[in-house]
Amino acid sequence: MRIRNFSVFLRSQKDVFVKEVYPGMSIFRHIAVALLLLLCIPCGANASTEGTEEPINVQEIIFDHMSDAYEWHLWGHTHISLPVIVKHHEGGWEVFSSARFHESADGTYNGFYIDHERKDKIYERGYEDRPWDLSITKDVLQIWINIAVMLLIFIPCARWYARRRAEGDHSAPKGFRGAVEMLTMYIHDDVIKACIGEKHYRRYAPYLLTVFFFIFVTNLMGLIPIFPGGSNVTGNLSITLLLAVGTFLLVNIFGNKEYWKEILWPDVPMMMKCPVPLMPVVEIIGIFTKPFALMMRLFANMFGGHTVILSLTCLIFITFKVSIGMGSSMTVVSFLMLIFMNCLELLVAFLQAYVFTMLSSVYIGLAHPEHHHAK
């Protein structure tokens, strides 16, 4: 029953995808099916690895899966050890594999240890504050993988266009390149151009396109539960903070005179701004709340999605502790819910990238307000 449901689901999913997203996109279709297949693995894969005697701490499991780490857990007791780059408090950088922490009994290597009481970060023995830590963690590696994926998609694509252009051939591409072009031009024309305005958009288009595809690829990779994906990057506040700061800087560095006038001396009755600068204060707070909302929205959406998926997975093991029958029936329910959630997350992955790019474009557009007054 499970298999039949799954294949029916896959077929319907495929139909929706093929009809609505892009007809005749065979490679992309296969990738989508492969992604969906991979998404369904954790239900079975994690079953053997979980301990059966200790009570299950759902919160710990969830945060463990979503937090950054110094090694990449593959399955069972297999990890990919990642390079640790830390600086001693007395000076001097250390570069070593995170596998070294397992070599000694108390997990210390050259004075460094991973403190499980304090968010599993590296600390130096005898010091309370964190050392400088530029380790290539799981999230950093995931970012690099995502970047590699982006470059592998866009650079060959762009080279193909350049080659065609040199030959004077203007025909449109087919297949995967067609999908890339469609998505790129959709964001470029309907989001960036539409929100910033005809006059200024060109300058910001490459940055905003990079932001969109970075978030989109990262969100999708985060949905793959095994190795080249699965790391929760966009659900980490550091990442969304940086992206939001990017938008903040673009808005406020390139904002024109009119923009600053609207903030510091807005077009409102005098009593709203003269003795007590009420409106300017509100506007200045607005400068910061806009990117803050961007940061929190992306973070919370991705964090929430991952939490629900992980909770549904944990539910299987919790109910198995109660009884085999309940566990079995809950497995079916959980499985169906997980499929639903993963589909929803596919949508959210696109939607959040789209919303982030669109709102950034809107804010940048608002920082060039002269054409609103020019009429």
Binding site: S67, I147, F154, A158, E181, M185
Partner: protein, 166 residues
């Protein structure tokens, strides 16, 4: 801050690597990725617009040529009709002229002939008249001569004379 999970607390190392990685991918894609695609699409759009306007122009030109050729054809046909009409008129005129001329000529000839005939007749009449006069004189002479002999013979003679004259 201490109790918050690590995903909620910005981490310097992650921020640093994210910044570096993002800048790298941004610079690479902004230089080699997106502009090529966008330029190609925009060029294709311009090419299509241009081709469309060219096709429209060609269509218009073709329609113009067609209209012109039709006009020329119509004009030629009109000219042809005109020429034919003129030719017919000329032909009719020539025929009429010839007929008139022929009539005139004929009448002239007829008149001439009539005149000649009249003249001939006049001459002939005159001739006859003189001859008749001569004959009459001669007959009269002979009659007068015979009369003088005898009456019978005289009458016979006159009859014979008249017979002869006839």
């Amino acid at each position: 801050m201490g109790n918050l999970p690590s995903i909620l607390t910005p981490d310097f190392g992650l921020l640093f690597w994210m910044l570096v990685s993002f800048l790298v991918v941004f610079l690479l894609l902004a230089k080699f990725g997106f502009p090529a695609i966008i330029k190609a699409v925009e060029e294709r759009k311009n090419f299509i617009d241009e081709s469309l306007s060219k096709a429209r122009q060609a269509n218009e030109k073709l329609a113009g040529i067609q209209a012109e050729s039709e006009k020329i054809l119509r004009e030629a046909r009109e000219q042809q009709a005109q020429i034919i009409k003129e030719a017919m008129a000329t032909r009719d005129g020539i025929i009429q002229d010839a007929r008139d001329k022929a009539q005139l000529e004929g009448r002239n000839l007829l008149d001439e002939a009539k005149k000649q005939i009249e003249a001939e007749k006049e001459v002939a009449l005159r001739d006859i008249r003189t001859q008749v006069a001569d004959l009459s004189v001669q007959i009269a002479e002979k009659v007068i001569r015979q009369q003088l002999l005898h009456d019978d013979e005289q009458e016979k003679f006159i009859a014979r004379m008249l017979e002869d004259v006839k």
